[in-house]
């Protein structure tokens, strides 16, 4: 199959030229402002990302009222607490992992994702393999991420078909009693907030991605 091993890092020159031509055309016609383009890129490349969501999760772990608040109206509570608001974060639903339930998020129809707390989605989240499989075989997909859940734990898969955006609150790792919010936030990975992994444990190596 030609689609296997499709390289996402090495697009043909033709594509680079096609985008450049379109940008020049739109600028020449006065339809886009290059400084606005720079703002859009900078916002999602450098300012908004999973470090936002990690702060939300860490706060929820140490503050029961905050946890209750985000489970009732996440978007309003995190706007007031942290100023996280805006596009693709208008209607966030926080779903909490417990001893009995594990949550995982997908958008089978496109790539819906809570931008204000996680930034832009990773390639795998937007890809056909993940979107096709996780609704039928969530345990199998989690195993591809090295996540092995007990058979008696219920997995809830949230298919983001509307403008509701789902944020998973992973379980607080053992051995973190008395940790500060900043220390806890370092254990909260992007993948744990999508629900394909659990949060890191205190002993896990820094930067040990998946």
């Amino acid at each position: 199959m030609p689609h296997d091993g499709h390289d996402h890092t090495d697009p043909p020159d033709e594509l680079t030229l096609r985008v450049k031509a379109l940008e020049s055309l739109l600028v020449e016609k006065g339809l886009v402002d290059r400084q606005a383009l720079d703002v859009l890129i900078d916002t999602y490349e450098h300012k908004v990302g999973p470090q936002n969501g990690a702060r939300v999760v860490a706060r929820a772990w140490i503050d029961d009222d905050f946890m209750a608040g985000i489970k009732a109206d996440c978007s309003a509570v995190i706007r007031d607490a942290f100023g996280f608001e805006g596009r693709q974060g208008e209607h966030i639903v926080a779903v909490e992992n417990t001893a009995d339930v594990h949550n995982v998020v997908v958008c089978t129809l496109c790539s819906c994702y809570p931008w204000t707390v996680l930034g832009l989605p990773p390639v795998w989240y937007k890809s056909a393999p993940y979107r096709s499989k996780v609704v039928q075989d969530p345990r199998g997909v989690l195993k591809e991420f090295g996540t092995d859940l007990d058979d008696d734990k219920e997995i809830r898969v949230w298919d983001s078909t509307s403008e509701m955006r789902y944020l998973v609150i992973p379980e607080r790792p053992e051995g973190t009693d008395g940790w500060s919010e900043d220390e806890l936030a370092k254990l909260v990975t992007r993948n744990s907030m999508i629900g394909v992994e659990e949060a890191k444990s205190p002993g896990d190596n820094e930067g040990d991605g998946s």
Partner: protein, 219 residues
Amino acid sequence: MSGPHDLGGQHGLGPVDPEPEAEEPVFHDDWERRAFALTLACGMLGKWNIDEGRFARESQHPVDYLSNTYYENWLAGLETLLVEKGIVSSEELETGRAGGKAEGYRVPDAAAARKILATGGPSRMTMDLAPGFQVGDRVRVIHNNPWSHTRAPRYTRNHVGTVSHDQGVHIFADAHAQGRKEGVHLYSVRFEPDELWGADGDGRSAVYVDLWEPHLEAA
């Protein structure tokens, strides 16, 4: 439409093969940055809504949709919409040469773009509308196969689930893709694996899907 984008439950698409989180950049090439920003900036001209944007991407030929990388699909959708809405002519797109300055558009500058991102675009509507279903109700997703845009995935159609949340009144995506802004109740509906996949489901799991009232009937 039952297009190539409607992927839930399809087989044979390969392993997920995730890049390690710590190593994955936000964009994998400069053209992706530009395609992303151009799509958002052109969307801010206000000539199409998010559901028309989705429909433009999913209306590509399935072979193209599935073999393209993600931002190639964005680019294809953007080019389609620019021509369809008469913002750019197909000749201008082919030659790359502007036939003239565009007039009558409100083009956001850097400050305006920042403000639009921060404001977002809520789909919830403040409308007093009685819900047709209550939490706990058993509902069946209507049995259809529309050519137009729908956010009811194929794998849920004609299947029965339980209403788990009423999310209030939201813009109905299927009508929105045709340029109509209609408010209806949106529900999160829980489906058991044996209902969706028979004996091929994962025993201890459930899928929650957001569906609008017109997608549902009492079961």
